[in-house]
């Protein structure tokens, strides 16, 4: 059982192929994802939004200074 679990982790580590097989697949998954995201966004606190905006600003400044 333990060996099986280790093999699974080993499989996980080598990588991911997330490419969409078709435009239709991409579109249908995008619609589902956006719907779920919009619902989750409603639950964000002001503090979480502020943290995101601050990190965005920090990253933009770092990129500008590079």
């Amino acid at each position: 059982m333990k060996k099986k679990k280790n093999n699974m982790v080993e499989d996980v580590e080598y990588g991911i192929d997330s490419r969409y097989q078709s435009l239709k697949e991409k579109k249908s998954e995008s619609v589902l994802l956006m719907k779920a995201r919009l619902n989750r966004m409603k639950n964000l606190s002001k503090e979480q939004v502020m943290r995101a905006k601050l990190l965005q600003l920090k990253l933009k400044m770092e990129n500008y200074l590079k």
């Binding site: 080993e10 580590e13 997330s18 995201r37 995101a52 905006k53």
Partner: protein, 157 residues
């Protein structure tokens, strides 16, 4: 950001840089598991130890501005860094954190990084990176994406 040498625990500072044409010669399917030449038209980045030329990990992505989203198309570590015998740890995590930073920089609080691992390994990503699940898609959004970036940046200190 850094990766950890598994045999010694030593931390190595990393660079994540765009893949250039000449890199595709060394990105063989045998060592990097996928045909990376197919990704030539995409945005592709390589992870290296600072000062080294050896590519330890690769990621290709698609920016989808209409959805405030960056989709990870392909992500891999080199053959020597797969499984229990891997030489360095945290390669995949650093690549995901790097893509997360690109996404937050572009889309701020609306941001999203998505990927679609095979069903059997999805649980690993959900647990390790606190990803949300929607159908077969896993995603990182605020606040989890901020925590992941902070986690990988803090480990730098």
């Amino acid at each position: 950001m850094h990766i950890v040498e598994t045999s010694t625990g030593k931390k190595h500072i990393i660079d994540i840089l765009p893949v250039v044409d000449i890199d595709y010669k060394s990105l063989s399917k045998n060592r990097y598991f996928f045909d990376w030449k197919e990704e030539k038209k995409q945005e592709v980045y390589k992870l290296l130890i600072c000062g080294s030329k050896e590519i330890l990990g690769v990621v290709s992505l698609e920016r989808i501005p209409t959805e405030w989203r960056v989709h990870i198309r392909l992500l891999t570590v080199s053959k020597e860094n797969k499984g229990n015998e891997k030489k360095y740890d945290k390669i995949a995590g650093n690549l995901i954190a790097f893509v997360s930073k690109l996404a937050v920089e572009e889309f701020g609080e609306l941001t999203c990084v998505s990927l679609r691992p095979k069903t059997k390994i999805a649980q690993h990503y959900i647990k390790k990176y606190k990803m949300n699940t929607t159908g077969t898609t896993l995603s990182l959004e605020v606040p989890e994406i901020l925590n992941l970036i902070n986690q990988y940046e803090k480990e730098e200190e």
